[in-house]
Amino acid sequence: MTKSIFQIVLKHARANNVEKVISVNLEIGALSDLQDEWIQRYFDRLSRGTVVEGAKLKTNRVPAVFRCNCCQEQFRVHSLLEEDLSCRQCNSRDVTLISGREYRVQSMEAH
């Protein structure tokens, strides 16, 4: 996973003649169990000696979106650890996940 992030960043750094990558913006869905601290640690190891070395990973957690099967209301859930997934409008527990699996390198800041 982290290797994939690193490869994407390095590819774009080269394509843009970047001297140094300062930070990388990731968009990660609420469904992911990945820990920011660990991704950063692996990333630091992989990026050693490249223009990406020292870059800070900034994770933007995208909330999961559910749709209620009764009233069709859509609602966001920021943490899936939250016990309650019932519809915010009608309290139905018959709900369907629409999104929350995002895994994207959005952008980077660089010199």
């Binding site: 300062i22 996940l97 699996r101 994207r104 980077m108």
Partner: protein, 223 residues
Amino acid sequence: MEEIRLIDIKEEILSDNRGLADRLRQRLSQEKVFMLNLMGSPGAGKTSLILKTISSLRDRYRIAVVEADIESLVDSEKVAALGIRTVQIQTGGFCHVDAAMVEKALGLLPLGELDLIILENVGNLVCPAETDTGAIRNVVILSVPEGDDKPLKYPLIFSVCDALVVNKVDYMDKADFDLGRVKERVLALNSKIRLFSLSCTTSSGVDEWARWLDQEVSAFQRA
């Protein structure tokens, strides 16, 4: 001070792996070989379910097993004892199987002589969920002693699987496990998921699971 540039990327992480996984799926479809990716925690009963599945379906399908569990030397010996072809994936301490590892394993199997490949993924509920192996169907096995809070703590894996097998239901009396709670949570994460409750020890519920897999494999081969 040099100017800081914001460079737009918008690229999916793991898209390389997904590309390779799609190519593997295509190849499996052409060869009419159904690959099942079985995931679950260590001790959930992955190997037991594989052994049960083999005895239920070996008369109908030519089966092989791809083993990637870290303790899988023991596991592959159990499977090999049944006279089933097994291939060991060396994950090199990796926490999951990726499409490149599967591609290598498939290269060691005579696909033309097989109908069903069962991939025993590494015992872990996090990383395997992120990584497409090229399987036709993904299944997660959860055992009653692990507790009914797993879909709460590891939502991703339940959202990407085609079926959930709740194993060790014979422990239900001894454990504080609310099957209804698990079902409700899992269906919210994944409305299309199929649910099976069984015990590999008593064999209760195994027939229903095997029937589903049988239907999936035969529908795939007819397609």
